[in-house]
C-alpha cells in the first residue's frame, strides 16, 4: 500500500470514475440542505423531471431565516416565510427528512449534523454552504457547493471534481488556557491570508490541535474556508469516536466495531508528503481580534490597529485603508481601546455547548456594560436545552444578556437580528465582511470568551490578565 495522507484515504474510496484528464466523479455520502441555497436546485430538478437518487442520504433544516424569538408567532417577513415553506414542500414532495423550525433538533445546519451523528469519519459531505468545512473535524471530506451542484448531488449522489492539493497546517505546543480554537484559526488565517488555502484541502495536525475537543475542532475546521481552503480536516481519534457513539444517526451497535476499525486507519501515514506545510507555535498565539473587513485582517489583543502605510504593496495598502475607513478605526489604536456596542455569541463557528459554557464563565457574577447589548444564540434546540439544563441561560440572563432560540441569527442577519449602521459588534461568527451583520455594521471576530469579556467591560480586554 502506498504512503497516503488522510485526504488520500478519503478521496480514493469515493472515486466512481476518473477520466484521463483527472476529472473525477466523486460519490457523496451525506448531503445537508437549508432553505436559502436549495429552492432553485429543487426547481431545476423538477423542471428536468428528475428525482433525488437517495433521499435518505439528505437532511434538511431551515436555519438562516428563522426567528430567534418566540417561534409560535410564526415568521413576520413574508419572503423568509415563503423560503422556509418552499423547503418544507420540496422535502415533502421527495421524501427528504427535515427538522422543522418547531423541532427541538432544529438548528444551524453545521451544528445539527454532528450533533445527530450524521457526520462521520471517512465520509464525503456537502452542503450548499461554504462552512460545510466544519464537518472535516471528524476526519470527513466536507465542502461547500453552489446551488447547481446541490441539484447535481440530489440527482446523482455524485459531483464532478478535480483532485485538490493538500496542505498541512501544524500547530505545535500548547495554547494559553485563555485561547481557544477560534484564536488558533484566526491566527492561522492571519498567517496564510484569506486566499492562502485556495486550491487546497487542509489537514490540521500537531499537539495543540490533537488536544482540542470536538467542539474546538469544529470551530477550527469551520473557518478553513475563510483561509480560502476548500475543506479542512482533522484525523479522527478516541475523542472523535466517543463524541459520535450513541448519537441518533451514528452507526448502530452491530456495525460500530467495524466502523471504528475502519476509522482508525484514517490518518496520514508517516512520511506522506503534503503539497504545502505551514507551522505555528501554540505559545505564540494570543487571543485574536479582527480589525478589518475580512478574517485575515486580524491582530493579537495585545496589538494595535495597523497603519496602511506599513504595508509594502499598493493593493494591501489600499485594502487596509479602505477597511479602516469602513471600520472607523485609526492606525495605532490599541485593540483593547476599541469600544463596542453589541455582542453576538453564536453562529456555526461558536454556538456549541462548550462555547456557551466558556462564555457563561466570563459572565458569571458580572453585568453587561451599560450601553452594550449582548445576545446569545445557541446553535441548535438541543444545545439550548442542554445549556438550560446546566443553568447557563440563568447566568446570561442575570448578566443582562439576551438568551435566544437557535439559528444563524446575526451571523448574517437574514432574520430580524441586525446591526444598525455604525454599530460595532464583538462577534463569535466567522465573517467580518462589510455589511455582513447589517448594512454599515462593524464586526470584530473574536472567541466566545473574548466576546463575553468585551460585553462586560464595553471594550476588548486581554483576558489573559483579567479577573
Amino acid at each position: 500500500m502506498a504512503i497516503q495522507t488522510l485526504f488520500d484515504k478519503i478521496w480514493a474510496p469515493h472515486v466512481v470514475h476518473e477520466g484521463s484528464d483527472g476529472t473525477t466523479l466523486l460519490y457523496i455520502d451525506r448531503h445537508l440542505i437549508h432553505e436559502v441555497t436549495s429552492p432553485q436546485a429543487f426547481e431545476g430538478l423538477k423542471l428536468a423531471g428528475r428525482r433525488p437518487r437517495r433521499p435518505g442520504a439528505t437532511l434538511a433544516v431551515p436555519d438562516h431565516n428563522v426567528p430567534t424569538t418566540d417561534r409560535s408567532l410564526g415568521i413576520a417577513d413574508p419572503l423568509s416565510r415563503i423560503q422556509i415553506q418552499t423547503l418544507e414542500q420540496h422535502c415533502a414532495d421527495f421524501g427528504i427528512t427535515m427538522f422543522s423550525m418547531h423541532d427541538v433538533r432544529q438548528g444551524i445546519v453545521h451544528v445539527i449534523g454532528p450533533e445527530q451523528g450524521l457526520t462521520l469519519p471517512g465520509m464525503t459531505i456537502v452542503c450548499g454552504d461554504s462552512h460545510t468545512s466544519t464537518h472535516g473535524a471528524f476526519g470527513a471530506l466536507a465542502f461547500g457547493i453552489g446551488t447547481s451542484e446541490v441539484e447535481h448531488v440530489l440527482a446523482t449522489q455524485c459531483l464532478i471534481q478535480k483532485r485538490p492539493r493538500t496542505m498541512e497546517i501544524r500547530v505545535d505546543g500548547h495554547v494559553s488556557p485563555h485561547c481557544s480554537a477560534k484564536d488558533m484559526i484566526l491566527a492561522i488565517i492571519g498567517t496564510i491570508g484569506t486566499a492562502g488555502g485556495t486550491g487546497y484541502v487542509v489537514e490540521y495536525t500537531g499537539e495543540a490541535i490533537r488536544s482540542l475537543s470536538m467542539e474546538g475542532r469544529m470551530t477550527l475546521c469551520n473557518m478553513s474556508i475563510e483561509g480560502g481552503a476548500r475543506a479542512g480536516m482533522i484525523a479522527p481519534d478516541e475523542t472523535t469516536f466517543s463524541y459520535i457513539k450513541d448519537r441518533p444517526m451514528a452507526p448502530p451497535a452491530h456495525l460500530w466495531t467495524q466502523a471504528v476499525h475502519q476509522w482508525e486507519e484514517l490518518r496520514t501515514d508517516p512520511g506522506a508528503a503534503y503539497d504545502r506545510v505551514v507551522t505555528l507555535q501554540g505559545e505564540d498565539i494570543a487571543p485574536q481580534v479582527t480589525w478589518g473587513t475580512n478574517p485575515g485582517m486580524v491582530a493579537g489583543v495585545d496589538g494595535v490597529v495597523p497603519d496602511p502605510r506599513s504595508f509594502s504593496d499598493a493593493e494591501t495598502r489600499d485594502a487596509t485603508a479602505r477597511a479602516l475607513d469602513y471600520m472607523a478605526l485609526t492606525p495605532g489604536t490599541a485593540i483593547v481601546d476599541i469600544p463596542i456596542d453589541r455582542v453576538f455569541i453564536g453562529s456555526c463557528t461558536n454556538s456549541r455547548i462548550e462555547d456557551l459554557r466558556l462564555a457563561a464563565s466570563y459572565f458569571q457574577g458580572k453585568r453587561v456594560a451599560p450601553g452594550v447589548q449582548a445576545m446569545v444564540v445557541p446553535g441548535s434546540g438541543l444545545v439550548k436545552k442542554q445549556a438550560e439544563d446546566e443553568g447557563l441561560d440563568a447566568v446570561f440572563r442575570a448578566a443582562g444578556a439576551e438568551w435566544r432560540e437557535s439559528g444563524c441569527s446575526m451571523c448574517l442577519a437574514m432574520n430580524a437580528d441586525v446591526l444598525e449602521p455604525g454599530e460595532r459588534c464583538a462577534s463569535t461568527s466567522n465573517r467580518n465582511f462589510e455589511g455582513r451583520q447589517g448594512k454599515g455594521g462593524r464586526t470584530h471576530l473574536v472567541s466566545p470568551a473574548m466576546a463575553a469579556a468585551a460585553a462586560v467591560t464595553g471594550h476588548f480586554v486581554d483576558i489573559r490578565h483579567w479577573a
Binding site: S130, G146, R436
Partner: protein
C-alpha cells in the same frame, strides 16, 4: 446550459482585492426562490452612498458601463459565501466573463455552472488591462474560448489556460447532470460495492 464560444464586449473595472460574495449580492436579496431578477441586488451596498444616492465612483453608476459584459477585477474575487446568487446576479446584469489574477474556488466553480467564463491572467496582464480601461472607458475585448485568447482592439493578444473538461462543457453548453447520469451504471455498481464495505454509509437518515 447556454454555450460560450466567443464573446466581444465592453470591460468594466472593479479595482478591489478580495471582493466577497456578500458584496456581490448582499443577504437581503437571498430570500428569493428564483434564479433570475437578481441584478437589482448586484453590489447593492456599493452602488449607493449612505444617504441612498448613487455613488459616482462606483462603475455601475457610469452610463458607459451600463452595457458592460466583461468584469475586470483583482485577486481572490468571489471569496466567502457559496451563494450562487452571486453569479446569477452578475449574469442578470449581463456579465459573461470575469478577468482576475485569482478567484475563490466555490465562486469560480459556480461561474461555470452558469456559463460565465472566469479567466485567470497574470497580475501584470490584469494591470495592463486596467491601464487600457482607465485610458478608454469604452474599451472592449474579444474572448475566444476555443483558442483560449483575449484580444484587444489594438490586436494584442493574451492567452489563458482553462481546464479542458470545463472548456468542453462551456463550448458545447453541456448539462453536467446529464453527463453524470450517463454513468448511472458505474454509480450503481459503486453503491453496491460500498454497501458491502461500509454499510453504515447507506443507512437512511430517518426522522
Amino acid at each position: 446550459m447556454e454555450s460560450f464560444t466567443t464573446h466581444t464586449g465592453r470591460v468594466a473595472p472593479l479595482d478591489r482585492v478580495d471582493v466577497d460574495t456578500d458584496q456581490i449580492i448582499p443577504k437581503q436579496y437571498l430570500k428569493t426562490i428564483h434564479r433570475t431578477g437578481l441584478k437589482e441586488g448586484l453590489f447593492a451596498d456599493w452602488r449607493h452612498l449612505p444617504d441612498g444616492s448613487p455613488d459616482p465612483n462606483f462603475f455601475m453608476n457610469h452610463p458607459q458601463y451600463a452595457d458592460a459584459t466583461i468584469l475586470l477585477t483583482r485577486d481572490n474575487f468571489g471569496c466567502g459565501s457559496s451563494r450562487e446568487h452571486a453569479p446569477w446576479a452578475l449574469l442578470d446584469y449581463g456579465i459573461r466573463a470575469i478577468l482576475a489574477p485569482s478567484f475563490a474556488e466555490i465562486f469560480y466553480n459556480n461561474c461555470f455552472q452558469n456559463s460565465i467564463l472566469p479567466i485567470v491572467l497574470e497580475a501584470r496582464d490584469i494591470q495592463r488591462l486596467f491601464d487600457h480601461v482607465c485610458a478608454d472607458d469604452r474599451f472592449e475585448l474579444t474572448i475566444d474560448l476555443a483558442a483560449q485568447t483575449i484580444t484587444t482592439p489594438q490586436n494584442s493578444t493574451f492567452r489563458f489556460s482553462i481546464d479542458p473538461f470545463r472548456k468542453q462543457c462551456l463550448l458545447q453548453g453541456l448539462d453536467a447532470i446529464g453527463l453524470t447520469l450517463q454513468r448511472e451504471q458505474a454509480i450503481a455498481d459503486y453503491e453496491a460495492r460500498r454497501t458491502r464495505d461500509a454499510p453504515w454509509l447507506f443507512q437512511d437518515l430517518c426522522s
